[in-house]
Amino acid sequence: MAKLDRLLNLTAALLETHVPLTAEQLRERVPGYNDVSGAAFRRTFERDKDDLRELGVPVETVTVDHVDPPRSGYTIRRSDYELEDPGLEADELAALHLAATTVQLEGLGTVGADEALRKLGGLPERQSVGGDALGAVPAPAPLAELFRAALERRVVTFDYGGTSRTVQPHRLQFERGHWYLNGHDVDREAVRSFRLDRFDGAPISGEPGSFERPTDVTSVRLRPWEYGDGDPVDADVLLDAEIAGVVRNEHPGLEVVEERSDGAVVVRLQVRSVPGLRNFVLGLLDRGELLAPATLRDDLIHWLDALAARRSA
């Protein structure tokens, strides 16, 4: 295992050094580098650096300018390398294990949660979890890069719906089976949400630390009648008893303004999108009714009249 030997000793040497080491210095210090020709050493060294970086070892390249001519030097900053101790109690670590076995993030390749758990201290007690995964969450292509950008406060640029967007990423949110990015759209000077499966191509990240995160990040608006800007209009919708519970389950937190004795309820919606409201109310079929405001109710009746009239046409 000459390679394992090299990678371990290379990592140790780069962690221990106080000044960046040049390739030539590393060739002297790491066994396995000094018994091959110069060209072979270069190739091996490059590959080893790539392998280490792939594992997440932060091998840094800096310019060493106290030699003439200046050369590339290498180091690993301990603060970048070391996992800070999260202080997990045994039961907390076990809870994370259970979570990792019951919820799978699909489509990120072979990089497992296992390795993360080992770094955090492994599995304190072997436990039989039993049963299958409880849920699967898809990982669309831009997810990992956007997560990194959100944590490191890097501005991202990407193509979306035929236009290029520049966004300060605040939060990634999985709701209703889809991933959303919520952030500040720099060109539109407003908070916007983007569905990750509608990205065209990969996002490009800028420099870290390039914006301030707001203290209270707004959540993605997922109710169809809430999309859009401008001041909201209140709309009251009657839900019959058979569907009131189902609709309120699907949209937790709906404001109920009236509970009728037959089990029907009236909910008040803050509407920014009239087509969104129409889609919601039509989804109720004849088990619900848009009560107010009168203008929106008249619009809806007009829409239904046009549909009903087509039969005779």
Binding site: T102, Q104, R213, G245, R311
Partner: protein, 317 residues
Amino acid sequence: MSRATATERLQRILVILPYVVQHPGVTLDELSRRFDIEHDELVADLDFVLVYVGLHPFTPDMLTEVVVEDGCVTVHVGDYFRRPLRLTHTEGLRLLTAGRALAARPGTDPGGTLDRAVAKLAAVVGDPEADALQVRLGAADPEVLAVVADAVRDSERLELDYYSYGRDTPSTRVVEPLRVVARDGSWYLLAHCHRADGQRLFRVDRINEVRSTGERFEPAAAPGEGRVDLDGVARSVEILAPAGVRWLIDTYVTDEVTELDDGRLRVVLPVTATAWLERLMLRLGPEAHARDVSTGDVLDAVASDAATRVLARYRPG
């Protein structure tokens, strides 16, 4: 012996060494169990480190010293490898997603063990406010979810008042709960349904009421995939939709999408139940047309009939 690649062994050694440094005298048995490594692989890794790993000029005082005595391991190292390597973004993302998803399950105790664990994990991943990632597997009434999950565990028959969205019909059914799963943004109960005489998927948020029966059943050895929902088999329907209804493609599962020269969309999608198609056609408006792909039947009356029915609510009498 070991078939692990050099980088796999490297990863392993980079977590075991720091653990031993921080827990001197830990047993081989515990290391083997904790990190899920075969005993002989573990011993081989430790031997390897003893023989090969150190710092220039690799004189005895510069080599890592691993001592295994009576099955207990102690490592004397220099300053390196005293902490594990930090999590990569992908590792952090994967574990945090799982933790957040489970912690946000309806009915989970806020501030409980998992919540605390997730907050600590978020801090070392680089999300100290713990709000850069939110995962909700689905909305559901926590009490209903708890009752159906308990019934799966205890193999207890349940009676459900269920609203079939696709058919727009409420019904009461006796079911044998087999599994609770989250999929595509909703919680589902896979159960054997007496009325349908087969396994069906029930969306937990469409269970209006659930009642315990106190009766036990023999669970099937291997529950099926349960891909069939209550609405049964789908037929293919072709929709001609006016321009500008991108939401149609984004919201529904489609088999075919073609943009016509005049900007209209031709979409073929699976339809299992009439009420489902009614909603779609009502939303698309009077410009849209529907046709059954296999029979060629024009289905436009679906929309006009439904519109007439809904209008009766708005203009009673």
